[in-house]
């Protein structure tokens, strides 16, 4: 029910339509803030830091749009916080040169020649914030906790590759048969059912972070809900939180690499309004600003003038229109591929990204360009499947209407298009949310001559219940990838994986995903991925991709080594320092 905040979305939700990202189970967009107990004001830090940094140690001031309260690594609640305060085997850091995966909790990883056995050698100097060492047992506990069917974690499927894992999760096997074996205090071994190149990519994800058994068990139901119960093994510790207001992280002196961590304190402020945040950024009270819309042009000019710096990157998000494959929608028409295509091609992506968002890039494929294979963007290796066909129809209402009519004929529907009403389900109340749905509504009405009714609900919970009651023909949703492999995108459309993408189901597609098991050769995988994407989008029009995500960070000149990460913390502060 946490998403009910969307009812107040105007206040709470910020730059991005948080709803679009809800599908990924917590993205970097939800961010929090607080004050140090000792200071006199929640914002004093913000006010003073601009002048006094250096005297009281290195501090950075950041902005959050909304708050969450999920500190459970296995649940991937607050990824942007977890990646800073916790640490897994590997860390993903992206600089201007692209994403890099570096060893963090692990010193080295041995993979057997057949790709089945992974041996993780942990660094021996890693410690929790209470001084206890991070051991192989913590990883074993964390992973088995993730698989425990009692806990019902979404991300359990992340390690279904591990022998015995899926069986345990499904209640058919025992916890002892899960092939996670602690060899000594700092070594553990994992055996996979089949070789899987995506396994290593998943190691940066928070569900595979270690968890302290003694502390988690003592906390019981409140584990992951009450931050005061947490211990940390990352560069920073959460030291104060005023819910929905502000948050403080301080340097974790017990962190193994503490010497390299230069910031002493990170102050997060919850600032729901962009105008306020921009004012603070202009005055130097905020060090980083996550811009969207017209702010991008404004701050790009500042960057030109040398007043601030910028870090703009692609982000592994794709937003798409989902169709009701289950019932064919309220109109019953969504079962026909030509109808779906006519809807898809009626939307001018280029125009939509520039008019509605002022950022992002038009999408004609499902896998976002931020996903790489062999160090190169997947999209540079695989053509966007629907681009050519889209261009045939784009901005040509007659052709689109003809296509739509063909679809109707195939369905045996004799109703004139002007008497057809399609239902677009949506929620959220930011200008962007509103424009988004009105843009789609208007595009379909103007290009196809149908009527589009908006079923706008107050918040995510209501959205969910409307969706599950199939009170829609189409809705806009998005996926943000959790690890660096095209499979994570393609997998969302596999039968039964997610209820939130219109319940597309094609046995042929499912079989193609299954056929990837054990395939290690990346050229072969690339070919299969392309084939799958083509089947899904071009042949079936299972969903209609609209845009690929991106991030636009602007930061003050005195902020050095500020990084971002697609799979870790959106604002990666691991190496950041202030130099005035």
């Amino acid at each position: 029910m946490k998403k009910r905040t969307k009812l107040l979305s105007l206040l709470m939700a910020g730059a991005m339509a948080a709803g679009l990202l809800a599908g990924c189970g917590g993205d970097g967009e939800t961010q929090v803030a607080t004050a140090d107990n000792n200071t006199t004001s929640t914002a004093e830090n913000a006010g003073q830091d601009a002048d006094t940094s250096g005297s009281g140690g290195q501090q950075i001031n950041l902005r959050a749009v909304t708050f969450g309260n999920n500190y459970d690594v296995q649940d991937m609640g607050w990824r942007w916080m977890m990646a800073e305060c916790y640490e897994g085997l590997m860390r993903a850091v992206a600089g201007p040169d692209g994403e890099e995966f570096i060893y963090a909790g692990a010193e080295s990883i041995d993979v057997s020649d057949d790709g089945l056995v992974y041996t993780f050698h942990l660094r021996k100097d890693a410690k929790w914030s209470d001084g206890e060492p991070v051991t192989a047992n913590d990883y074993e506990y964390g992973w088995k906790r993730l698989l425990n069917p009692e806990n019902g974690y979404d991300y359990a499927s992340f390690i279904f590759d591990v022998a015995g894992a899926e069986e345990y999760y499904n209640g058919q096997g025992s916890i002892d048969d899960v092939a996670i074996k602690v060899i000594d205090e700092y070594t553990f071994e994992v055996t996979l059912k089949e070789a899987d190149p995506t396994f290593q990519a998943k190691l940066v994800a928070t569900p595979l972070y270690p968890t302290r058994e003694d502390i988690a068990e003592a906390a019981g139901d409140n584990w992951g809900k009450d931050w005061k119960l947490c211990v940390y093994n990352g560069p920073y510790c959460m030291t104060d939180l005023v819910e929905d207001n502000s948050m403080t992280w301080t340097k974790n002196e017990n962190y193994w690499d503490a010497d390299e961590v230069k910031l002493d304190q990170i102050n997060w402020y919850c600032v729901p309004e962009d105008v306020t945040a921009a004012t603070m950024f202009d005055n130097g009270q905020l060090d980083v600003f996550d811009a969207s819309g017209d702010y991008i042009a404004k701050y790009d000019a500042e960057v030109e003038a040398g007043n601030i710096q910028t870090l703009s990157t692609e982000y592994p998000t794709t937003a798409m229109i989902c169709y009701d494959h289950q019932n064919g929608g309220k109109s019953g028409l969504m079962k026909n591929v030509k109808v779906r295509k006519a809807i898809s091609y009626s939307i001018n992506r280029e125009e939509m990204v520039s008019a509605v968002y002022g950022r992002y890039s038009a999408a004609y494929g499902l896998v976002a360009p931020a996903i790489t294979m062999d160090g190169e963007s997947y999209r540079s290796q695989a053509e966007e499947p629907i681009k050519a066909e889209y261009e045939e129809y784009a901005n040509n209402p007659e052709k689109l209407q003809a296509l739509f009519q063909e679809g109707l004929d195939e369905l045996g529907v004799t109703t004139a298009p002007s008497d057809i009403t399609l239902v677009l389900l949506d929620y959220g109340n930011t200008t962007e949310d509103q424009m988004e749905r009105e843009y789609i509504q208007q595009s379909l009405q103007q290009n196809l001559g149908v009527k589009v009714e908006l079923n706008t609900v107050g918040d995510y919970a209501m959205f969910q219940s409307e969706r599950d009651a199939y009170n829609f023909d189409i809705f806009l949703w998005s996926w943000s990838s959790d690890y660096n492999d095209p499979l994570d995108f393609l997998n969302i459309m596999k039968t039964g994986v997610y209820p939130s993408y219109g319940r597309y189901s094609n046995p042929e597609y499912d079989a193609m995903i299954d056929s990837l098991n054990g395939v290690q050769d990346s050229a072969e995988r690339l070919a299969k991925y392309q084939e799958m994407e083509k089947l899904l989008l071009l042949d079936d029009c299972g969903c209609a991709p609209i845009y690929y995500g991106d991030k636009h960070y602007y930061y003050q000149n005195w902020v050095k080594d500020f990084n971002t990460s697609s799979f870790g913390a959106s604002q990666e502060l691991y190496r950041t320092y202030i130099e005035k």
Binding site: D274, K298, E351, A355, V356, Q434, Y439, Q442, Q446, G458
Partner: protein, 305 residues
């Protein structure tokens, strides 16, 4: 001093008619009120402005001939010009047309909510005053309970229970508002019942209908009209506030509140998108308020000259 004798007087004639003749034309309460309202330039100006607003709200969207819904992305966020008097919004829609459509919705919502408030409030208040005793106590307690719960909570909860629709919006708007009307009506009726002139009328054998028509209604109408004049802007304003919380009208329906909240998010770059809807809201609210002030002066029997 000479004594007065009857013969010094003579009858110059008199008729019943002459005795009852009134030299000045009778002015009813309403005529008098209207006369005094007309003398109040501010109130009259407000009335004219309101008349104009009503006309604009009806024909405004047609003046420029742009559809308030259809987008035209090529012309988004244009500044006010001779083509688009109030500029365009993010999807290139004519703000001038949209504002009048929005104002129409705001006005209609306010009028309906006010009507609900008046009807419920008057009946409730009259019941309290009529029955008195324990009925009065119980009904009064209900009002106290409603008033003690923060209205924002009530409003949000009602919208959650009833869903995000027009009906729920109207209920949520009027649910706390009628309490005040009920209290005023109750107080007024109680006061009237015990006032000397109503008592005198009763003693003189006036029928209940006469008393209701001649005493209760004129006295109460003043309050109710005033209540209306202040309630309408209040509702317009509250509806605008709800839009900020995301529980106002659903797109593509727009109200001034929706327009203001959308304009607010663009205020740094396109201030006119915020300015114009705010201006129209201010004018409507101000006109109703000033008219209300004028009406109060005009309807107050004590100010009758």
């Amino acid at each position: 001093m000479a004594a007065l004798t009857p013969d010094k007087f003579k009858i110059i004639g008199y008729t019943q008619e002459e005795a009852n003749r009134i030299d000045r034309p009778t002015i009813s309460y309403w005529q008098d009120a209207w006369r005094r309202l007309r003398k109040n330039p501010v109130a009259m100006a407000s009335l004219v402005v309101l008349g104009l607003l009503v006309i604009l709200v009806i024909v405004g969207p047609l003046i420029r001939g742009y559809d308030y819904e259809s987008m035209n992305v090529m012309e988004k966020n244009l500044k006010p010009s001779s083509k688009y008097w109030f500029g365009t919004d993010n999807l290139g829609r004519d703000l001038f047309s949209r504002i009048w459509v929005g104002a129409r919705a705001s006005l209609v919502i306010a009028l309906v909510a006010t009507a609900l408030k008046l009807i419920i409030g008057t009946i409730y208040g009259a019941l309290m005053a009529h029955f008195g005793g324990w009925v009065d106590e119980v009904l009064m307690r209900v009002i106290e309970v409603i008033n003690s719960i923060p209205s924002l909570l009530l409003t949000i909860l009602i919208m959650m229970v009833l869903g995000n629709n027009l009906f729920a919006l109207l209920v949520a708007l009027s649910v706390t508002a009628w309490c005040n009307t009920a209290r005023q009506v109750r107080g007024m009726i109680k006061q009237l019942r015990e006032s000397e002139y109503v008592y005198a009328a009763e003693v003189l054998g006036a029928s209940p209908v006469h008393i209701i028509m001649k005493h209760y209604i004129p006295n109460m109408l003043g309050i109710l009209i005033l209540d209306t004049a202040t309630a309408i802007p209040m509702f317009i304003f509250t509806e605008a506030g709800l839009s900020f919380l995301g529980i106002g009208l659903k797109a593509p329906a727009i109200s001034l509140g929706v327009l203001i909240s959308m304009g607010q998010q663009n205020m740094e770059f396109y201030p006119f998108q915020l300015l114009f809807p705010c201006l129209v809201l201010c004018i409507i609210v101000m006109a109703f308020n000033l008219l209300g002030d004028g009406l109060r002066d005009a309807l107050d029997p004590r100010l009758r000259q």
